[in-house]
């Protein structure tokens, strides 16, 4: 993993996944910078983690639940008042070209 160069195509793929438009110059810049950081981060590969479980949470909580009881919700006008575009009480977005999955 160390020494793996992050190409501009890799950076472009990641930028698409992350929904951020980047110029070619930015792609090159980020590809280079990320490669340096990944090199450093790849030191983790050096460690022997056989038999070691991952830590998702520093503290072992479980079964945190709440009762199925209604609580006050937000005033629609307050929420829609901050929306970039609204129509008929709903959030308006430009046309959707693809299906979600």
């Amino acid at each position: 993993m160390t020494g793996e160069k992050l190409t501009r195509d890799d950076a472009a793929y990641v930028a698409r996944l992350a929904r951020i438009d980047l110029t070619d110059e930015e792609l090159d810049l980020y590809a280079g910078q990320l490669a340096v950081v990944l090199d450093h981060a790849a030191q983790v590969a050096a460690l022997d983690t056989t038999g070691v479980g991952p830590t998702a949470h520093p503290l072992p909580l479980k079964n945190v639940l709440r009762p199925d009881e209604p609580r006050p919700c937000l005033d629609r006008d307050v929420v829609l008042g901050q929306a970039p575009a609204v129509e008929d009480g709903r959030f308006l977005v430009p046309r959707i070209l693809g299906e979600p999955e």
């Binding site: 890799d10 951020i20 980020y30 949470h57 503290l59 909580l61 959707i96």
Partner: protein
């Protein structure tokens, strides 16, 4: 200005009005913050209204709480209802949260007066507050130097004496490192000790809200107010806030202090010297100080720079121009999202989103994110082993004193190395504090760090109090406000 707790006492006893206290601090902010730029939003009207309310309650014989009338600054990644909250980002352009963060509610419940929102690195990603979309904050001790980050605004506000208390957030050192660079006390609680509800998420399994103060006692007092179980945060510990103030003076007689070489070697000579001095102070006060080594700590930074960006890349997906904040129009919704995020996020945020997305992506998950989670376990185990022979650990907070503005912006790796001493505590979920402990040859503050196992906040504060006692008296910073008054 006296300490926050003393101030609150005066207000509660009616010796001084909350209105007067707040006015004084607002005036200091108005006068001095132009040069410091600690604040993004100052709540002149809101703070005065709150102060008037506090005074009314005192006149009616009520007790508004342990922080009555005390002006507090809140980092601008904590939600304040009806008050714009930017996270120092263009993408939250003009957004006003319709709710308060739990910690803000608790502040208000204790009688404190929120006087403003402070500057930060955008979405808390950075170590210098230079990644703010609204311009950097300057270190009150040297206007050409960084205050540290990401909670640079809160640290600077307290350092300049503009407020006695502030809230920050710490994901990889973002409270402790600016505290060290600005010469104030800054502390990160045990993960889960303080509610994250209303803290705009950066890295969910690492973020914690914590206090800044000019004294250890003040920081402990603020910690007590904000800590404790919150049913709105599933990762919040099922326990009330520990009592940290009442055990402050218990000293360190008989305590075992470990000095891991990984937190001392490789730091700037002045910083290293102060850490040694701190060790001597503790030894003189009755503690046994032993050098030790925790080699796994060296893997903290690489693990952190996989885990934190990964979680951040997901947490920041919601900023898509659909429901609030900035929207840059596009032909279709995807084009709109891509253009909005391109325009709304700064370079560091984009970099970390890219890094995190990559670390989680198919084919790389196991080697990057998955492996980093395992390294996290190794670090926790290593700490546990170290704490079999020590009650607390001592070390540097950050390798250098405040560096010049612009010095590291083009070298992300150099910037990330500021966090090498602080990230292990975030990975392990342990509490840690930075205490001001002198300065370097240029008068730039140096902080030393005390680390302890989970849930041992009282111990952390207690040791810090001993160090504070022996530390040189604070010097007024160049950019001090009229309300600065030392300790």
């Amino acid at each position: 200005m006296t300490t926050a707790l003393a101030l609150a006492g005066q207000v509660r006893r009616g010796e001084v009005s909350a209105a007067e206290v707040v006015d004084r601090h607002l005036a200091a902010i108005d006068e001095a913050d132009g040069a410091v730029h600690a604040f993004l939003t100052v709540l002149h009207d809101g703070a005065r209204r709150r102060a008037a309310e506090i005074d009314r309650r005192i006149a009616a014989g009520e007790d508004p709480g342990p922080l009555a009338g005390v002006p507090v600054a809140v980092k601008d990644n904590l939600c304040t209802a009806g008050v714009r909250t930017t996270c120092s980002s263009r993408i939250l352009d003009g957004w006003c949260p319709p709710y308060d963060a739990t910690v803000v509610e608790r502040l208000q419940g204790a009688g404190a007066v929120v006087v403003g929102k402070t500057n930060l690195d955008e979405f808390a990603m950075g170590s210098s507050t230079e990644n703010s979309a609204f311009g950097p904050t300057r270190n009150p001790y040297a206007a050409d130097r960084v205050p540290g980050g990401s909670s640079g605004g809160s640290a600077a506000a307290v350092a300049a004496g503009l407020v006695p208390l502030a809230l920050g957030s710490d994901t990889g050192g973002s409270i402790r490192q600016p505290a060290a660079l600005c010469g104030v006390v800054g502390m990160k609680p045990t993960y889960g000790m303080v509610s994250r509800y209303g803290l705009v998420a950066f890295a969910s399994s690492l973020d914690q809200v914590g206090p800044f103060g000019t004294t250890v006692a003040d920081a402990a007092g603020l910690f007590e107010v904000i800590a404790g179980h919150d049913p709105l945060d599933s990762t919040s510990l099922e326990r009330p806030a520990p009592r940290a103030v009442e055990t402050l003076d218990e000293g360190v007689e008989g305590l075992r202090v470990g000095l891991p070489r990984e937190l001392v070697e490789g730091v700037a000579p002045d910083v290293g010297a102060r850490v040694q001095r701190a060790a001597e102070v503790l030894a003189s006060a009755g503690a046994t100080v032993t050098e030790c080594s925790i080699p796994e700590l060296a893997y903290g930074l690489p693990a952190y720079y996989l885990l934190a960006p990964a979680e951040a890349s997901s947490n920041l997906s919601r900023y898509d121009g659909v429901r609030y904040g900035l929207r840059v129009e596009g032909d279709d919704v995807e084009a709109m999202m891509r253009a909005t995020r391109a325009a709304g996020f700064g370079a560091e945020v984009k970099r970390r989103i890219m890094l995190g997305t990559y670390a989680l992506s198919a084919g790389y998950y196991d080697a990057y994110y998955g492996q980093a989670q395992k390294v996290r376990t190794l670090i926790i185990n290593a700490f546990d082993e170290a704490y079999r022979h020590a009650d607390v650990l001592l070390g540097a907070t950050t390798p250098t004193t405040a560096f010049p503005l612009g010095a590291k912006v083009d070298d992300p790796m150099a910037m990330y190395l500021s966090d090498v001493c602080t990230v292990p505590s975030n990975l392990a979920g342990h509490p840690a504090i930075s205490v001001p402990f002198g300065a370097d040859g240029d008068g730039l503050p140096i902080g030393v760090q005390v680390l302890a196992p989970a849930l041992c906040e009282p111990l952390v504060f207690r040791v810090a109090a001993v160090l504070e006692e022996a530390a040189p008296a604070p010097v007024a910073p160049a950019l001090a406000g009229a309300t600065w008054s030392g300790r």
